[in-house]
Symmetry: C2
Subunit: 214 residues, 2 copies
């Protein structure tokens, strides 16, 4: 962090330029992938010279990590806040909503699918990012299942259900990216949850209050 500030010409203009580069790169990576783009291409799209972009990001990997961090920042805040403020079912519904949102962003989904696969390599620049991301995500989903433990089948530990649910999110995404017409990720996740006793249909919450007795 400190080193970034020393190279940028101050928090004002430099920070704005950085933010613009990150926004441009996020869109470009999502649409065209990571390999297909050079730092030079990205500089052009951000209206900078190659040297101007390198002043902010020395390598394409450094820029990618900033894109990932930036995209996770809002999700992370939600991750951190939701479990304390919402029921387990609502956290699970929110996770399914993120998957639903991903179906409108196949480029970003593809970038994540690819990176989460290659980041298993300890030497990959995104390894620490993904390692922490999965630890956090599994912990949040586990807490959600823990809250709904009374609904779960007797033999299914919340942690096991959490690993399965997160694995389904990733694995279904691989199938959906390859065969989008034949795979409905949201329906699949909803079916999995229903199969272990958890309905995330939000009309159910209201039904108990609103349905008139006949």
């Amino acid at each position: 962090m400190e080193s970034r500030r020393t190279v940028a010409p101050g928090p004002g203009k430099g920070a704005q330029t950085r933010a613009r580069i990150v926004a441009v790169a996020a869109e470009a990576f999502a649409r065209d992938g990571f390999d297909a783009l050079s730092l030079r291409d990205l500089a052009g799209r951000a209206g900078l010279t190659h040297a101007g972009l390198k002043h902010h990001f020395a390598t394409k990997e450094a820029l990618l990590l900033e894109v990932l961090d930036e995209r996770d920042r809002s999700d992370s805040e939600a991750f951190a806040l939701w479990p304390h403020r919402r029921s387990g079912r609502e956290v699970l519904r929110w996770a399914v909503e993120i998957v639903s949102r991903n179906t409108t962003q196949p480029g970003t989904a593809s970038l994540y699918a690819r990176l989460s696969g290659e980041a298993g390599d300890r030497h990959h620049p995104a390894h620490p990012h993904f390692f922490q991301r999965y630890r956090r995500l599994v912990a949040i989903i586990e807490a959600a299942f823990q809250e709904e433990a009374a609904q779960l089948p007797a033999h299914l530990a919340p942690r096991t259900a959490a690993r399965q649910f997160v694995a389904l999110m990733d694995g279904l995404q691989v199938q959906w990216l390859l065969d989008p017409d034949d795979v409905d990720m949201v329906a699949q996740l909803t079916a999995y949850l229903a199969g272990i006793g958890i309905s995330i249909d939000d009309t159910k919450d209201r039904t108990t209050e609103e349905a008139p007795a006949r």
Copy 2:
């Protein structure tokens, strides 16, 4: 296929050299990844000049596809044969055994995880390979669940179970690659199957025949 024969100097020596290149590349990709290696590196490891290797494989992508096809060939034969020869439970047990084998080959698992992610892009050279691979794999697992349909929960269609099971294989692999000490893929898949009424414990088959009545 025909064009390969016309560039190779005949089915004898040329085919042997091709096979050696593919074997060397399979090991190298699995250990060092796809990006880290150049065709020149691979030529050196196979005891060939760069030009000598390019005589057989013009690009690294072409060589990768041959590695994937070669590795799938034996699995494919098994895929094609098993469902007709074995029970659904046995096919599922065999799928779990493949996952178990993968835990001893993290480099190959990582290459597959990464490629299956990026192959969602229609323009990726491995797209047709992975598209067909998943169609076939899901169909085989679906047939296995179909055979065991009497065990499945009433609301779980064999095709849905198949998509879930294949997704778990891929998604658990992502988590395992990132965090191998904390993720047991085989235990997770076995637990999933047990949760939907299917035990793949092979001692069960014998128990009914061998267990003495007390």
